[in-house]
Symmetry: C2
Subunit: 244 residues, 2 copies
Amino acid sequence: MTQNIYDDDAFLQGYCQLPRSVHGLDGAPEWPSMRALLPPIDGLSVVDLGCGFGWFSRWAATAGASRILSLDISRNMLAHARAQTSSAAIEYEIADLETLDLPDRAFDLAYSSLAFHYVADFGRLARTVHRSLKPGGSLVFSIEHPINTAPSTPGWRKDGDGRAIWPLDGYFREGLRRNHWFVDGVEKYHRTLGTTFSALTGAGFDIDHLEEWRPSAAQIAAHPEWEQELDRPMFLLMRAKRSA
Amino acid sequence: MTQNIYDDDAFLQGYCQLPRSVHGLDGAPEWPSMRALLPPIDGLSVVDLGCGFGWFSRWAATAGASRILSLDISRNMLAHARAQTSSAAIEYEIADLETLDLPDRAFDLAYSSLAFHYVADFGRLARTVHRSLKPGGSLVFSIEHPINTAPSTPGWRKDGDGRAIWPLDGYFREGLRRNHWFVDGVEKYHRTLGTTFSALTGAGFDIDHLEEWRPSAAQIAAHPEWEQELDRPMFLLMRAKRSA
């Protein structure tokens, strides 16, 4: 079973301070890039895999999605999401992406923001999502970039000349990483980009977009400290289609 | 025009000592992975982009390719390649991948080993190669992995705990890198993986394979020093298809 760190009080207290928790999609710097990958939402049946506080699900309801199944492992987050929602199109359910079942050919769009790196068996999940899409449907998702999840001891270092470097090691040593993020022992799974790609193609997907998110010049002007993010890819965004 | 470092005597003297120069395909640890991406070669029309000493072209001739156009910028390497070849199926030509022209819909397979990172304008090259393929044809290529080309000062470091780390920086600062490789000032072009992917999809390709080469357990047993290559991806292998 996936670690449910989002129901840990100390973790959630920290996570709630993040701009993306306070401001929703507008507080997530990669959202404009994610939105650009989406089909027109009006009338679509959507599954939101790891919906968290439900910001995307509510956006999709407002944009005219006919049905949104919003899944998360965290009772606290789902309770908060429900309390914010009046749309009858959204259905919230507790679910563990590790053991997820979904109905066959039910959705036009599967969406997931920064959740798949909590899953140990991504191959199983990719096959489950592929089966759940209608032919022509697509999966749009973001994950932490594997360069970000690989290191045995993540965190910026100073090189001999004073430049900041990202201390890459262990790239091909896939599997569990336990690191400090608000609390000790937050569990994520490192997979190479090649492994993620092959899991998707192996499930039958065609991958038509792969993007390494970087802050725009406007975003760096507004947040000068984000210039550091030009040194190392932080998020990986992909779109995969079910053709038949 | 692409820097022609392979016609620099001091560089070529160093390069000629590499296992892949001495032993050909069997001296290239990624060759088994590249070969696995190839279609059956018998009867195919092939273009070899950056053929070097011509090892792959000769292999393709032996495997039954009907025609092989073998292109390289280096007169020295082409002269060596010609001297090793008796096959009438192979045609050698001097060419700069930066300004390459190819006939339309002429080839079933475009192949390139570790050459595209010398090219500044990969978008132009991707479009040129796409046009030159017959519908259904494929491009199989390897490049240095962008994690390998990104750093401003490449080379392993020791972290505080004595572990080797790869000092990543400048990932999103694309463009020319000048580094020491046998001689000073060898020019390569750094592009993010996302940029390479988008250049290919933008040219009309469908990408059905993306692989980050790693040494196998058997290769590490034979070359224990290659275990270091598990810490950082060195080569990127891709296959892209022209569907129509």
